[in-house]
Symmetry: C2
Subunit: 344 residues, 2 copies
């Protein structure tokens, strides 16, 4: 048995994992005989408890700060979780900081650096269009993760970026719908003044239509109203109801997030219509719920785990001077669900 | 206009919110004339930017640590988000720390206190059965939030708790299914050695059956296998498939989380069966997706926002010596969805 773990010990002892945990942690709520038996089995099997409380003891007070714009976006939940895991593995602590829509993330970061002295920063979500002068004020290494950004920044060697190509992936989904025979494809997208991933996904949609000989129609572009949670199910539901009240004609809906797609589905179902028979539906993100929804939703699956891990790996490589800053663009995958079908 | 906000300014100026933000934040990427115009409108309307970057400046390095057991549980995503909001409002920073299933949260907390010196701690999720001696080692105020715990701790005045009554709420749901005429109610629950909310919800289920004259049948209690993410859709899907392969008889399924319920629904749909016609389905938590799922899921809605806010309010009241520790039990609400129906 190469890497015996706490579950193996529990099984060998015929007790639950929590009982083994109590034995290891000198917990008073355990029968002394049981404890002795467990400790004996642990010894015999050379099991070394992998306890991050112990690991913590060996660290100084190092921290990574994660600044999030759009904390309500469920896509970020999984990112945050993997960040925490990877940061804890490195024995750093994780400072979580929300950045409001109208705030400047660099300002927030500058204050954080002064107060909390993080060794590195991750910017998650939002849009980045700061000047080189501003960015040079940031005295700790940072990585932009899943952030829509202007071209000139992408070439900068002073920081790292991890993302998918939102424009290309959005093109891919729209092109897929066109190839299924759809000519009237409604897009449910971010507010019209969005300058982040919303804009990139909209541009990808327009270009794919254009390349398929379809002129993008303003009546089929539904912008979200300004709201704190544009990418939510609730907003998708609201947007779709607005469209259905207007009776514009379309055969497919492309929502720029899975949550929007699911809210939109619900609005369609509530009017007694079916998916994909009456309308096809496509989303974006590749959330677990896209697979478990009824019907499952055709989506663009971002490799969230790889992206989150790469974000932290690059950051630590730079902190430890093991590598230069880098720009990493991941490929996303179009997952065909039950929510789309070919039309004539 | 009493409380003019950045969106009002943007509308008045005929520009986007981000442009106003740039003007306020002395961003270089803005046309100077546009900026002057915006600053003029801001002045005329007595608008005061509510910028947390500015707020941060007034703080020292105070932090609240949130320790989470079961970080993969989507119910916690919203809790974390509201914690962050409330903690930021108080101008404290938010340290996020995962606690693994087999770790002792008090050990982790003790190390955190030593290293990071938080002013307060929130324990989120998991099970708390530590001795008074252990707890007395924790030298900063703490609140247990949505944690299953033993009775004797509940009476302790040395710390605060915020939760729903998992036993009573689970009783409520099971009783509801009985009153709809169901006699064979399958429960999808946590691993058999669970000593946390899983156990409380299972006990509530058994008691409700008993009170309705039904003897709980072991063949209708499906325990999860030991897994990192017991409360996930994936696990619900897996558990339900296991049950369906065994052909035990039941008319309703009660899953102890909405995510488990949704995974279970998918397994049922994949076999060509319908909900609620072939099987009824009930969940627990009141996640947004329970409402947007097709069909919507009958669930126990925990008042997540109120609970999260109360957690932070109590913690700060104690930190600032404004109040004593308190135990706060919230009432949850049974929400009838499309996934359950009366049977004969």
């Amino acid at each position: 048995m190469d890497s015996i773990n706490i579950k193996d010990i529990a099984r060998l002892c015929g007790v639950g994992v929590s009982t083994v945990s109590r034995a290891i942690n000198n917990h008073p709520d355990i029968n002394p005989e049981t404890k002795n038996m467990i400790m004996q089995v642990i010894k015999e099997n050379n099991y070394i408890p992998n306890n991050s409380a112990r690991n913590l003891k060996r660290t100084d007070s190092r921290a990574i700060a994660v600044l999030i714009k759009g904390i309500g976006n469920p896509f970020f939940s999984k990112m945050i979780r993997i960040f925490e895991e990877e940061i804890q593995k490195k024995k750093y602590s994780f400072i979580l900081q929300r950045v409001d829509e109208q705030e400047d993330e660099v300002d927030v970061a500058l204050e954080l650096i002064k107060e909390k002295k993080p060794r590195g920063i991750v910017f998650l979500g939002g849009y980045f269009s700061h000047s080189r002068e501003e960015l040079e004020q940031l005295t700790v290494p940072f990585v932009l993760s899943t952030i829509g950004m202007t071209e000139y920044l992408g070439e900068s060697p002073d920081f790292s970026c991890v993302s998918v190509d939102d424009y290309a992936e959005s093109y891919k989904m729209t092109d897929y719908l066109c190839k299924l025979g759809h000519k009237k494809i409604l897009i449910l997208t971010a507010p019209s003044d969005d300058e982040s991933i919303g804009r990139l996904r909209l541009e990808g949609y327009k270009k794919a239509l254009f390349d398929n000989g379809i002129t993008p129609s303003p009546s089929l572009i539904t912008f979200s109203e300004e709201c704190e949670e544009c990418y939510s199910m609730e907003n998708g539901y609201r947007m779709m109801n607005r469209v259905l009240n207007e009776k514009s004609e379309f055969t497919a809906v492309y929502a720029i997030s899975d949550s929007i797609a699911i809210g939109a589905c619900k609005a369609i179902f509530e009017r007694g219509m079916r998916i994909p028979e009456d309308y096809c539906m496509a989303g974006y993100d590749g959330l677990d719920i896209a697979r478990y929804y009824n019907p499952s939703i055709t989506t663009i699956r971002q490799p969230v785990e790889e992206m989150a891990k790469a974000t932290i790996k690059i950051l630590f490589d730079v902190i430890k001077n093991k590598a230069e800053h880098q720009k990493k663009v991941f490929r996303a995958e179009l997952i065909e669900g039950e929510s789309t079908r070919r039309v004539k």
